[in-house]
Amino acid sequence: MNTKNRRSIATPLTLVAAATAVLSAESAAAHGLAGKRFFPATLATDDPFVADELSLPTIESRKMPASGDEAATRETSYSVDVSKRLTDNLGVGFGAVYLVLQPDGSDTQRGFDNLAASIKYKFYQNDERETILSAGVDWDIGGSGAKRVGAESFSTLTPALFFGKGFGDLPESMKFMRPLAVTGLVGLGIPTRSGTTSTSDEGEVSVERHPHTLEWGFAVEYSLPYLQSFVQDVGLREPFSRMIPIVEFAMSTALDRGASGTTGTVNPGIIWAGRYAQLAVEAVIPVNNRSGNRVGWIAQLHFFLDDLFPATIGRPVFGR
């Protein structure tokens, strides 16, 4: 098709759509925008945005320490996550993880972990303050994965609050801090079963208890695009002008049923945000021995569906 002709046909339609967008006072509300702040999608902690996006793939590799009768295991996961807006402020998500477990001295196990589904509602956004708040529930669907890779037979529901704050409102004297932003969450992991009873070949009965957990984490990021566009042109050009150094903290604290303590990782890394997708890679550093004793890594390719397919799957199902 002739590009010029296609453009001349599209222009009136585009203008109608443009007028609608402007008249509805709907500033860009898609993937991670609050005012002039672009927040990238984070890898280890969920962000507060309701968006049309696809993470495909996310690959993570970690060596987990020995625990009880279980040998130390190299755990590699391949994930896909998709999020879809139902309305501008309400969205759903689905995720699947394929696990490859390589225990020291044993055979490799492969299979899908439990599927995950989620719903999230953005209830507050202040563009001037670059602030956003949302609430949601994540559902780890018990029994939907393979037992051989440790998928639980019970579900876990995790209601959570999510937040995002950019520091573009700092005073002029602190202007080089303005590219900083924080996103994060606090949630309560609620297993649908308090414990699992099992009987060994010798007839010994054991009970594994499933505690409630506090799921918490945050990401601190310094946006070089923000620095370049709104604070000071320091001469960066692509690809550096689109990079966002980031450190994520992803934690889980056991609350009851005889369990205690916190496990988690600190993930320093870098995100490159393009027009339609972002690439990210982070180191995965365990915070204590229970969380692991070797540094792993995680990498992700993430697509902005609202930019790739603005007229079809990249827009809310209802409204607009």
Binding site: V22, A28, K36, K175, S229, F230, D233, G274
Partner: protein
């Protein structure tokens, strides 16, 4: 895998669409210029819709000082310019709100100084 490879290639190839972010500007973001500029020129990462893309310049008291003629360049629709009168020394703020050709709205602002 071919589908994934195609999606990756399409997404990273960056044709003209998606959110329009400021790529660079003249006077440069946060800069100090020694001669008053005749115009502010903004380069965006995407093509703009001329009817819905605006920019204005204010002085340190918040008073608008530009010539109110912000326009998208006919030859390069990623460029938005607005004319200025003879500016006195001081700090000025550029604010824009633009619409990319696929209807995503973005906005922003930055300052520059005119030296004495």
């Amino acid at each position: 895998m071919p589908v994934l490879a195609y999606a990756c290639a399409s997404a990273l190839a960056s044709p003209a669409s998606a959110h329009a972010f400021l790529d660079h500007a003249s006077p440069a973001v946060g800069s100090t210029v020694h001669a008053p500029p005749a115009q502010v020129k903004l380069w965006f990462t995407q093509k703009l819709e001329p009817a819905f893309s605006k920019a204005q310049v204010t002085d340190s008291s918040g008073k608008r000082v530009d010539q109110a003629d912000a326009r998208v360049d006919d030859g390069d629709r990623t460029v938005l310019t607005v004319s200025l009168p003879q500016l006195a020394p001081g700090r000025y703020r550029v604010k824009w709100r633009v619409l990319s050709v696929d209807t995503h709205v973005t906005e922003g602002d930055y300052s520059f100084d005119v030296a004495r």
